[in-house]
Amino acid sequence: MKKLNTKELVYMSTLISLHILFTELISIRLPMVEIGFGFIPLAVIGILFGGLYTGMAMAISDGVGSMLFPPAGGWFYGFTISDIITGLLYGNFLYRIGSDGKKQQLIKIAMLVLIVNLGINLTMNTYWLTILLSKGMLVLLPARVIKTIIMIPIQYIIISIVINKVKTLKVN
């Protein structure tokens, strides 16, 4: 694992701060779902630093975020695990995506958005909620399915735009 230099550390910490802010403060509340934008800085971290660092960044972000903005019901490490895995996936698919062709970029983003939303948000996080709330999965699923259906195209479009803006950015 490559060591980060000072400049990279500054980028990373700024992006972690942005992730906390985007997750906790900047969100659109609709009657059925809350749309957060934490995935934008997360995508940038993934593009610049790769899977392992993005996973670590997510763990730090979750820890610091829950200290600054304590979640209702307290901190639960299940969601931290979900965040770390999400980070790994973002890094895996987006790292140095700028050097890929347009078609490959779009395929990678599509794969990422689908896997994260269906595998992590819909399945894993719902499982954590069943443990936390002592409710059956089928009770929680309908609302979460709607959220996932809304989030998939939004994330796909926004990440595609972000990649176009960020792909030429170089930390070194």
């Binding site: 899977g51 695990i81 895996n92 794969m111 595998g119 992590i120 499982y127």
Partner: protein, 412 residues
């Protein structure tokens, strides 16, 4: 590069070179691709050598040499791929392209550009993709050899022969002037062509490769000075300034596929972690439920005990009696002294709703300060009792404590 595998495609012969052995598969690569796959799989080379270097003869490729404005390698490659049609007017989907710097001149780079037909090596790329081996580099055979010689001479010629052909390449001032291939079937024709080539040659020195007997014999006869060299591919490859050919479209498809495989692996690990964490959480929750049940049951018992306010009064009376069993109280009531910390212990115990009888105390002395503390503590005691046992008549407790304190003051 991890363990190295080199696949050499020269003259209808596929040579697979690993650290342990060299396997020669005769015949065209396209026809022998399955055999190549079986050998790599059989020798488990796909596990040890995750990357492969492909050596091809230059007639599978086309080379152009050109001087370009000086720029860094990254920009040079970008520029090349952007303008590739200008250099090679061929279909991009059918060929793979690359560029490398031959030498630096003042404010310019002399570069070598090449393209290789995908059709020729497509089967191999597909096969290596399936067994998860990356093609790290594609090297032109003449380049590999010339790099070995280039260190000593800038103008030289290289002769080497295979079963069917003789290859001759000439380098002038470090740049490849030509690569020629002579079919060895007709000996007269070979001699004629070799004579012609040697007559026109500008090279200072001629090298023959790996004891190329036919050529050596010929050169000796012609009294041409030459030197035979042996090349260790595995060592030499690291030194060669190669074409990377990494921007090949099929390789990109492979990269996407690998990302998906990696994501799948991450998810599998995630599922295992979630399962383990989930089981552990459920176990903890169950333990906590048991503890909570016991706690509430215990609290219910205490509630039951203090349901009747006389029980509380009784307990407080007990404290009072113990306190009175102090210095002066001892004289008046025939009791004994207690220490300050024991007194606090009793008050705290009452606050927490514990049984006073269970508190162990030592003999000691009560002072006026302790009594004043008692006034504050008594308020806390009331709150404590109130918090824990709501059914108790608070007035009774207050009254009892008040009496207790007044009594202590009187004692003092």
């Amino acid at each position: 590069m991890g363990s190295e595998i080199i696949i050499e495609l020269i003259d209808d012969e596929v040579k697979i070179i690993s650290k342990r052995e060299v396997k020669i598969i005769e015949g065209n690569l396209k026809d022998r691709i399955e055999e190549v796959g079986e050998y790599i799989k059989g020798k488990k080379l796909e596990k040890r050598g995750r990357e492969v270097v492909l050596i091809i003869e230059s007639n599978l490729s086309t080379i152009k040499i050109e001087d370009q404005v000086y720029m860094n390698k990254r920009n040079m490659r970008k520029n090349f791929f952007y303008n590739v049609k200008k250099y090679f007017p061929v279909n991009r989907n059918e060929f793979i392209f690359d560029i490398k710097v031959l030498c630096k001149k003042s404010k310019a780079n002399r570069v070598s550009m090449t393209y290789i037909s995908k059709e020729e090596i497509e089967g191999l790329i597909k096969l290596l993709g399936e067994i998860k081996i990356n093609i790290k580099k594609i090297i032109l055979y003449e380049d590999l050899i010339s790099e070995t010689v280039m260190e000593n001479k800038s103008s030289f010629a290289i002769f080497f022969n295979t079963k069917k052909n003789i290859y001759i390449s000439e380098y002038v001032e470090g740049v490849c002037k030509y690569v020629k291939k002579i079919n060895t079937e007709d000996e007269k024709e070979v001699k004629y062509k070799l004579d012609l080539i040697i007559a026109e040659m500008e090279a200072e020195k001629i090298y023959t490769l790996n004891k190329a007997e036919k050529i050596t014999e010929f050169l000796k006869r012609k009294e041409v000075e030459h030197e035979n060299i042996d090349i260790d591919y595995l060592k030499q490859i690291k030194k060669v300034n190669t074409f990377n050919l990494l921007d090949d479209e099929s390789k990109k498809k492979l990269i996407v596929k690998r990302r998906v495989v990696k994501a799948y692996q991450i998810l599998v690990v995630a599922i295992v972690v979630v399962e383990l964490v989930g089981v552990s959480i459920k176990r903890n929750v169950k333990n906590m439920e048991v503890e909570m049940e016991e706690y509430y049951r215990d609290e219910d018992m205490r509630k039951e005990k203090y349901k009747d306010s006389t029980e509380v009064v009784k307990d407080i009376e007990e404290i009072k009696n113990r306190i009175l069993k102090s210095n002066e109280g001892a004289e008046k009531y025939g009791g004994s002294k207690i220490y300050e910390r024991d007194y606090k212990k009793i008050i705290n115990a009452l606050d927490e709703g514990s049984k006073v009888e269970s508190i162990e105390i030592k003999e000691g002395l009560i002072t006026i300060d302790i009594i004043s503390e008692t006034v504050e503590a008594s308020e806390e005691t009331i709150r404590g009792v109130k918090r824990n046992f709501r059914e108790v008549n608070i007035l009774n407790i207050r009254e009892t404590l008040k009496n207790k304190i007044m009594l202590q003051i009187e004692i003092k």
